[in-house]
Symmetry: C2
Subunit: 331 residues, 2 copies
């Protein structure tokens, strides 16, 4: 059996750490591509999986890594539209921390001409999650107003760019420091509020009036619920992607939900079906690739590490030092 | 100025009551039809408006009546597709308790050949509300499972029929008596639960397993929140049209909203824009009129009153004696 280099989890010291190892080289199924990985990107789920808190679903490789870029080396009998040597990137159910991976052909996206592998590896998770939230679930319309919480986060920075480039929206963000506010302004946010210093709902009402927001992307959860509902406009939508500040809302009223005809949605990307991811990937690729090619959309890269330095990279994420994606390369 | 017969609110005794009167005959604007009303139907909003609790929006006639059927007598310069003598029905912002009304041409629907005016007058409010909730907002898909609370109500009976005829759905209802359960079964409900005698969520889990419902149409509000969320399936949707049992949920958790990727929506029909109502009306007309024509969809009529007996009709609704629409005719 062919083998390949991978990073595996070493639990022997009691503190899980990544170490170099070998694993069987995957063989593409009928609908899969075999890819020589050139770069992969870190996700918070990697840290959780390393700590044993986020086991991969059954049937999925135990190797970490939810996205990658690389070069096609082969493919199954039912794959169409790809050739050996194509440069591509995409979402993985796992397996990115390796020399090779297989990817569902419907989840693979061809790279525009002059995009680097590091850039391509930084796109899939944050931009597909943001695209799903802003365009598919939030149904943001041309020139509407969107409030993006955690605007300097990975998904936040992607959501800002998509709202601006695809919908010419008025973009409002929250973030926890002046530095992070500046990042969101640099990407196109019209107004950024430091949530440590102001009540975003009060500030928004003062600046734009009551009920001024059409779509909200939220990762915070219960602490923002009342304020979110208060500033949503008629037919407003709030999309929950996480609940990092808590999940339980004391005294939730249905009155504004009915009166303002609101929509509240929760979503995640990882546990979606292959079919859903294929449709999402295709729609995203069609609507955005020309914008990546011309530089109007840009993945935000924090840092690039050689794969041997993976522990250093994980530590950077663990300590919340990154602004943008952390890339591993050189496998 | 031309006048016409109407029913107006007489407050003189201290207890508001309807009485015969005269009012100016309306003149159709460019996009409006002038209709000789043949039948109108009662809505709960009529009782509230009569009691002074639900004033019509500014610019809307003070005459009660949110729907009607009748015959075209004239139209404005921009109306296309209608002729004098056409039989039609549709939603009104008000003005149905009268000899004549004007209606936005986009809100008027031509009647199938052998439909009676009484039947046509009974369709608009309940069927458009149900169509909006089940098809547009609930996005019910072919063969999905829908739970319709208050299944024997006007909107409930319309929702059952639409879910069955348009989506071949598995239909579950709740109602407050055996008699009402029998009505929903007669219309096509696969299972009806008497909410006075069983916990619908427990019963559903026993019968169909956990997380078995794709779409819920709810009028009850907070008392059903936890049970609704509990039995919704992955990607489930709950549409709130009212909150007759209360609006405040003491502890609402976002965990199932995210984990099951749920959508929670509130909506009403009356305060929608003319443009929205035009689109909804057109889509409804296209998808359902052949089913009304062949009797597969049928408005549920409780009783027909001569317009002079309007107080008796109101009393019947006030006392919740009706199952189906109450019609006024003979204006």
């Amino acid at each position: 059996m062919d083998t390949m280099k991978v990073l595996t989890i070493d639990d022997s010291s009691g503190i899980p750490a990544m170490k170099a190892g070998e694993f069987q080289k995957p063989v593409p199924a009928d609908h899969e591509l075999l890819v020589k990985i050139e770069a992969t990107a870190l996700n918070r789920a990697d840290l959780m999986q390393k700590a044993g808190k986020y086991p991969p679903p059954e049937g999925v490789t135990p190797i970490l890594g939810l996205e990658m870029s690389g070069v096609v080396e082969g493919f199954g009998s039912k794959v169409q539209g790809f050739e050996i040597g194509d440069h591509l990137f995409g979402l993985l159910p796992g397996g990115g921390y390796a020399e090779y991976c297989v990817i569902h052909a419907g989840h693979a996206m061809k790279m525009p001409g002059d995009m680097s592998f590091e850039e391509a590896a930084a796109i899939s998770e944050v931009f597909l999650t943001a695209f799903q939230a802003v365009i598919w679930l939030g149904e943001l319309q041309e020139k509407e107003t969107i409030l993006i919480h955690a605007g300097a986060s990975g998904v936040g920075t992607a959501a800002i760019q998509l709202a601006k480039e695809l919908r010419n929206a008025r973009i409002i963000t929250t973030a926890g420091s002046e530095e992070k506010c500046a990042i969101t302004a640099g990407l196109g946010a019209d107004l950024c509020m430091n949530y440590r210093e102001e009540n975003f709902a009060d500030s928004l009402e003062e600046t734009f009036g009551k009920n001024c927001v059409d779509v909200i992307i939220d990762f915070v959860g219960s602490p923002y619920w009342d304020k979110n509902i208060r500033i949503l406009a008629m037919d407003g939508r709030v999309v929950y992607l996480a609940m990092m500040g808590g999940a339980t809302i004391e005294k939730m009223s249905l009155v504004p939900v009915l009166r303002k005809r609101l929509t509240v949605r929760g979503s995640t990307l990882r546990n979606r079906s292959d079919e859903y991811k294929t449709k999402l990937t295709a729609d995203f690729h069609k609507q955005t690739m020309h914008l990546f090619a011309t530089g109007r959309l840009k993945p935000v890269i924090d840092s690039v590490f050689e794969w041997e330095d993976v522990e250093e990279a994980h530590e950077r994420m663990e300590n919340n030092l990154n602004a943008g994606k952390i890339i591993l390369t050189g496998m």
